[in-house]
C-alpha cells in the first residue's frame, strides 16, 4: 500500500518537469538566411525531456505512429544517455528519423495520444527523435545493419520520395535486390524539391539517402519511368515487382484570368527552383527565381507556409498569405503558422483571388480578390467559404505563388496497361497492401491518397513492403 503511494507520488513529480522548449534562430535574423530555424536539443535538454516519458506499458503513442516506431524504447535509451543506441532503435522501424523528427505532424499523431498530454504537455517525441538521429549523424557512427542473405528477387521502386525510400530500405534489409528509379537529378522527392532548407536541411536528406545506398539500394537518377522505360519494360528487364511511389506531382491552378502572367508560380515551381535548384543562391547556382517585393501566396497549408517563408528570405517587403477560409480552418501545422507569424508574414483570411492584372510586359502587378464569409460545413467538415457580394478589392503584387494543392501526374497510368485509377487519376489499391489492379505492381503515397504527409507516404511504403515481400517470395 505504502509502496503504491510512493509510486504515484514519484510519477506526479515527474510530470512537473515542463516540456522542454527547443531553441530557435531569432525571427529577425532568420528571415535573412536559409539556415534551419530550430537548433535542436542539447544532450542535457534531451535527457531532461526523455525522463518526462513515463514508459507506459501499453504505449498509445506507438499506435499513433504510421511506421510503428518503438517510442518508449528509444526515449528510454536517450534518458540513459545511450544516444547512438536510441538512433539505432529508431532505425529499426524508421528509415528516415532525422527527417520525421522535423516534418512529421507529431501533434496529430504520437504526441496527440501521449498520456502526459491529457493533463499537461505531451512528451516532445519529435524533438527527441530529431535529437537522436542528429546525434548519430554528427558522430559519424552510422551503423549499417546486416542485411539478410540475397533472395534473388529484383524489385523496382519508381520515385525516390518518402514512400519509395522507406520501401527500398525495408526490402533491401530482407535480402531483395532493390533499384530505385528517380526522374530528377537528385533523390529525395518532396524532401529535396519541396521542403525548404530552413525546415529540413538537404544535407540530412543526402545522409539518409546515402545510408540506404550503403544498405545496398541502387538509385538510378534521371530515369523518367513512363518515358525512358515503361512498367512493362521493367518486368521485361527481370524485375519481379514494381512499386509506384511517384507522388501527386501535378500542380493545381485556379484557372482564373491572368493566371499565366509572368511572376505567377505554382508552389511546386517556386519551391523546386529554390530548394532543388538552389535559386536562392543565384548567381552562384544558375537557376533564377523572381525575388518579389510584394509576394502573395494563395493557400493555407504547409506548402503555402513554406512558400511564403521562402519569399521573405528572398527579400520580400510584404509576404502575404491569401486564404479563403479563416485561421481555424488552415490545414498547415500550428508550428508552421506560428513561425510564419513570428517572421512577419501578413495573413489575409477570408480572401480569394478572382483575377490577376498584368503590366505592359505581361508581368503580374495586381490581384483582384473577393472577401469571403463562412457558411455551412462542406464534405471536408470545414465551413464552406462564400463570396461576399460587392466585396472586390485589389492587392499590389509582383510575385504570386499558387499553393492550393497538387494532383496526379498521368504519365505512368497512361503508359501502364491494366493499372486502374480513380476519377481523380489516383491509383486504385487494395487497402493496406498497396496492391494495384495489375499483378506485381504496388503503389503508395500521394499517388494513391492524393497530397498528404511525408509520414503517411512512409507508412504506405512500409505496408507495401510487407505485401511485396510475401508476393515475390511466393513466385
Amino acid at each position: 500500500m505504502e509502496n503504491k503511494e510512493e509510486k504515484i507520488e514519484k510519477r506526479e513529480k515527474k510530470e512537473k518537469v515542463p516540456r522542454q522548449p527547443m531553441p530557435e534562430q531569432d525571427p529577425k535574423a532568420r528571415i535573412g538566411n536559409f539556415d534551419e530555424v530550430p537548433y535542436g536539443y542539447s544532450a542535457e535538454t534531451a535527457i531532461i525531456e526523455a525522463k518526462r516519458c513515463i514508459q507506459c506499458k501499453k504505449p498509445s503513442c506507438v499506435a499513433g505512429c504510421p511506421v510503428d516506431v518503438d517510442i518508449p524504447g528509444f526515449i528510454k535509451l536517450i534518458a540513459e544517455g545511450k544516444f547512438i543506441e536510441a538512433a539505432w532503435k529508431l532505425k529499426e522501424t524508421n528509415a528516415l528519423p532525422a527527417v520525421c523528427g522535423r516534418v512529421c505532424p507529431q501533434e496529430d499523431q504520437c504526441e496527440k495520444v501521449c498520456v502526459l498530454g491529457k493533463k499537461g504537455d505531451p512528451v516532445a517525441i519529435g524533438r527527441l527523435e530529431r535529437f537522436a538521429a542528429d546525434y548519430e549523424r554528427s558522430t559519424g557512427k552510422i551503423e549499417i545493419p546486416k542485411v539478410a542473405a540475397p533472395t534473388g528477387k529484383k524489385i523496382a521502386i519508381v520515385g525516390a520520395g518518402p514512400a519509395g525510400l522507406t520501401i527500398a530500405g525495408d526490402l533491401v534489409k530482407v535480402g531483395h535486390d532493390v533499384t530505385v528509379f528517380e526522374a530528377l537529378h537528385k533523390a529525395g522527392g518532396v524532401l529535396i524539391y519541396g521542403i525548404p532548407e530552413f525546415r529540413l536541411p538537404k544535407a540530412i536528406v543526402d545522409a539518409e539517402v546515402n545510408y540506404l545506398e550503403k544498405l545496398g539500394v541502387k538509385i538510378v537518377l534521371n530515369a523518367a519511368i513512363g518515358r525512358l522505360k515503361t512498367v512493362d519494360d521493367l518486368f521485361a528487364e527481370g524485375f519481379n515487382a514494381v512499386f509506384l511511389g511517384v507522388g501527386a506531382g501535378a500542380p493545381v491552378f485556379m484557372n482564373i484570368p491572368g493566371e499565366n502572367l509572368s511572376g505567377i508560380y505554382s508552389a511546386n515551381e517556386y519551391l523546386t527552383r529554390s530548394n532543388l535548384m538552389k535559386a536562392y543562391r543565384f548567381p552562384e547556382f544558375d537557376t533564377p527565381i523572381a525575388k518579389g517585393k510584394n509576394v502573395a501566396v494563395i493557400g493555407g497549408g504547409n506548402v503555402a507556409m513554406d512558400s511564403v517563408r521562402t519569399a521573405l528570405r528572398l527579400g520580400a517587403d510584404n509576404a502575404y498569405i491569401i486564404y479563403r477560409r479563416s485561421k481555424k480552418e488552415m490545414p498547415a501545422r500550428i508550428e508552421e503558422i506560428h513561425h510564419a507569424e513570428e517572421e512577419g508574414v501578413q495573413f489575409n483570411f477570408l480572401t480569394n483571388p478572382i483575377e490577376y492584372i498584368g503590366d505592359e510586359n505581361g508581368w503580374v502587378k495586381q490581384m483582384v480578390c473577393n472577401r469571403m464569409e463562412l457558411g455551412e460545413p462542406d464534405e471536408s467538415g470545414r465551413r464552406r467559404p462564400i463570396v461576399i457580394k460587392g466585396s472586390e478589392f485589389t492587392i499590389d503584387v509582383d510575385t504570386v505563388v499558387v499553393a492550393i494543392g497538387t494532383t496526379a501526374n498521368p504519365v505512368i497510368p497512361r503508359t501502364t496497361p491494366g493499372l486502374e485509377v480513380n476519377k481523380w487519376g489516383y491509383i486504385v489499391t487494395k487497402d493496406g497492401s498497396g496492391e494495384t489492379t495489375r499483378q506485381g505492381v504496388y503503389a503508395g503515397g500521394d499517388i494513391v491518397t492524393g497530397s498528404a504527409t511525408v509520414i503517411l507516404a512512409m507508412g504506405a511504403g512500409r505496408q507495401a513492403a510487407k505485401a511485396i515481400d510475401s508476393y515475390v517470395r511466393s513466385l
Binding site: 525512358l228 509572368s262 547556382f285
Partner: protein, 278 residues
Amino acid sequence: MYKIIEKKYLQDIVVKMVFEAPEIARKRKAGQFIVLMIDDKGERIPLTIVDSDSEKGTLTIIFQIVGKTTACLAQLNAGDYIKHVLGPLGHPTEIENFGTSVCVGGGVGVGVIYPIAAALKKAGNKVISIIGARTKDILILEDEMRNVSDRLLVATDDGSYGFHGFVSAVLQNLIDSGEKIDRVFAIGPVPMMRVICNVTKPYNIKTIVSLNPIMVDATGMCGACRVSVGGKTKFGCVDGPEFDGHEVDFGLLMSRLRMYNEQEKQSMDLCRCAENGK
C-alpha cells in the same frame, strides 16, 4: 554522366553535339526532347533531340549559344561529360502520310525540323522544306534537309542566299503557286512560328509548331512551361512540345520567355565561358 563523342560548330554560335545516352537513344522518337544539366550548379534546359543512333547509343543535339548554359555547353569537347540528361520527354511528332507536308525551319529550328522532315519522308509524304536564316553564313543543315526533302527552298533575311526575305513569304508564294498543302510543320523563333500560322490560317492548313517555353523539371511537376492553347492552359513539357499552331497564344509564350531576361544577362556577364567565345 553522359560522354560527349563529337562537338562541331555549325557556325559562329550554333553547335552540334553528339553524346552517349544509350537508353534514351533506344526509346527516342522524332519530336521528343531532353533536359540536360551540365553540372550540379547548372540550370535544367530543354533541347530537342535532332537525331539518335540506337546502335551506337548516341543522341545528337544542335543548340545556339544564347545564355550561360549554352555558352558553357559549347565549351565542352569530345571526351568531356554532361552531368545529367533526362529523356526522352514530350509526345513524339504525329507522323503519318498526310500527302504533301511542308516543313518550315528557321535558325536553329532547322535542327529540330530535320528529324521530322526525315520521318515524314519515310512515311511517304511529299516533303517540301523551307529553311531560313538571317544570313547565308549562319544557315545550317542545308544538305541534310535537301536529302530528306522532295524540294528544298531557302530564304535569308538579307538576301545573301536563296530567296530575299522571310520563310513565311516563301510559304505564301508556294500556296499562291497552287501547291496543295495538307500539313505544315513550323519550328523556329516564336515570331517566325506566329507568322507562319498567320499565313496558313486563312487556308485552313493544319500547322504544327514545337514550343520552347522555360522548363524546370520537364515532367509535369512545376508548370513553368504553361502555354495557352485554344484558351486552355497546357504544359509544354507533358502536353507538348508540339501543338496546333492556330490555337497557340504566341504573345503569352513570348512574354513568359522574357521572364528572366535580367538574371540571364547577369549570369552571362559573370560567366567565363561566354567571354572565351569560340
